[in-house]
Amino acid sequence: MAVAVAHDPSSGSGQAHGVDRLYAETRELRINGFLLFMVSDLVLFSSFIFAYLYLRQTGQGWPPPGISRLDVAFAAFNSVVLFGSGATMHFALENWKHGNFNKYAGWMLATIVLGAGFLSGQGYEYWTLYTKFHASWSGAGIFGASFFTLTGMHGFHVFMGICYLTILFLQTVGGVYTKQKYAGLTMGTLYWHFVDIIWVFLFSMFYLWQ
């Protein structure tokens, strides 16, 4: 984002560029604040990842008794769905910037559908773990504690992301954003990529390192 252009204080005007009528938040400030929110969200994930690594290395009960390897192939397919949604989100934002509303709408809806697809895949995986190995959140020792908490937290973020993108989509249909002013879309895209990147770590640490 471009740095806000300051106006000349000598003009005596009370209105700076892009300032909300109601309160003093510019789009740039909102994006700054949103980035910091993502930093603290990253700390939240990092803390649980630390807990997982700590329990796995020092605690008893790893590898999880009674559970054979996690299904890497299925999870890899599901990951491709999620990363694909990151690509479609990128195309959606680019098309918005260039004013192609129809293409934007198509990519945005594709992102939402792919996100929902990832969540369904995760639900299927949880169901398989439960029916085949009786693995549940509280009933599978530190495996349940770390795997279901972290992937569940990530899934919750994906779910919140789908809600967020849906709201953004409705806002764009309603004409809230313009070709020049689209801070909400920028933040939505940042959030969606953030959720993707978290999944890279979770996928490597749970599926590739078994």
Partner: protein
Amino acid sequence: MAVAELHGGGIAEHVHPEPHGFIRKYIFSIDHKIIGLQYMITAFIFLVMGGMLAELIRVQLMSPHGTLVSNDTFDELYSVHGSTMVWLVIIPMLTGAFGNFVFPVQIGARDVAFPWLNMASFWMFPPAGLMLYGSFLMGAPTAGWTEYPPMSLQGAPGTSMWCAAIFLIGVSSTLTGINFLVTLLRMRAPGMTLTRMPLFCWAQLATAPLLMIATTALGAALAALFIERQFGVPFYDPTRGGSPLLWQHMFWFYSHPAVYIMILPAFGMISEIIPTFARKPIFGYRMIAFSSVAIALLGFMVWAHHMFTSGLSPALQLAFMLLTMTIAIPTGIKIFSWVATLWGGKIHFTTAMLFATGFIVTFTIGGLTGVYLAAVPFDLHAHGTYFIVAHLHYVLVGGSLMGIFAGMYFWFPKMTGRFMNETLGKWHFWLFMIGFNGTFIPMHWIGLLGQPRRVATYDPQFWSSNFAASLFSFIMTFAILLFFVNALWSIRRGKPAGHNPWGARTLEWQIPSPMPYYNFKKVPMVFASPYHFSDPLPYRGLEGELDPSVPAPVPAGHH
């Protein structure tokens, strides 16, 4: 164009619409000054509640086999006392209250970056406090403010309520940290470069990332404890594969930085008060500013010094011991800079200055025992004894609370337009010093002799020291009561103070008291650091601030 380059976020000229009606003005206000005062009043209410718990503890300990409360109730008392003072008094007071009230004006802004978020942060705070005290109804937490598992896993249902309450206040802290950081980085007035900022702003700049990052880690630890207690998911229970040490790591990864959240803003306040009343430029401005940042960074690397008795490997113990001792360097830089500021100054011992100089003395004592405790062999001996209690109260009461009182006497005229009574203030200071030191000095030696903390009864050989500590604690409580009487009386009856009674030079003193909702009629331009007492004020554009004939600025979108 030079102005445009200096301009932070381009929104400094924005003015809120004037709030109308009691509710928009004082209850759901978006004005950082009102929100600051809301934090202040709420935190003082919790100070009274936490103080009453402390006095119950001291009354119980007046005899070796005290019968005031049962052992279990005693556990509840000190657990809720500690949690109250840390999360509901010191942190909200130093960040939410003084942070909100003072620093946006000091950087020449009209509000924080996200005023509505600021209001939301505040309104998470009273419910969190009510939840913490509500836990008494269902059996309050009993494992201390640190709530180590496995004891906290077996605690009464109120322990889960404690988790939720602290989680909520943590969310509030995180949002405040984000808000303050964006404000400090993006909303400074033209010419207010980082190295022209008052030192209180530097202290908030160092504290905000701690609030934002460390508190989130605590949130994770609390969430895991809550999940384990309510849903039986094993994180900490060693019988189910979990690790109680995991909690200690996660808890102290937050709570050691939190120690600096609780002292850095107080350092900042002292750095404003000492030069003002010594009538001298602060000594070592840059070193004080950068040492705050150094303390904040080092604060993330020392958490395991709380765990020397928990079975860390000796190599880790050595590393954490050395890193911990390193923190004494930036802290020492501050202490020596303040002393050097006093040296040769024309010192005015107002009550605020008495508290500021008292802070230097008592905080240094607490800081020194901190260096002792950083040494592994000493810590192995003193861990879990009253020596720890003495140390932490010297830094939190002799440091943070003394800083809060100094700040209260200093900024009270800015809040109300009136002085607090100086005679009562001096009684407050001297009684507080006597009471505070009398309460906590004996704890050093009874701790070294082996009296364990957090136990409702003790060996009769420690009776005389405990009895003396209790008597002195009554003096301290009386001194704090004097403060409340003074503050409540002075709000309406205090001597009118004018806009700048102390001859201070930071921006908040150049506008009327109490400050108008728009802060500045015209956002000033800043030309130099505020601490050069012999020079003219380094601001331009403030001419009309005190002139009632100059109209208030027009809110954006209302003209």
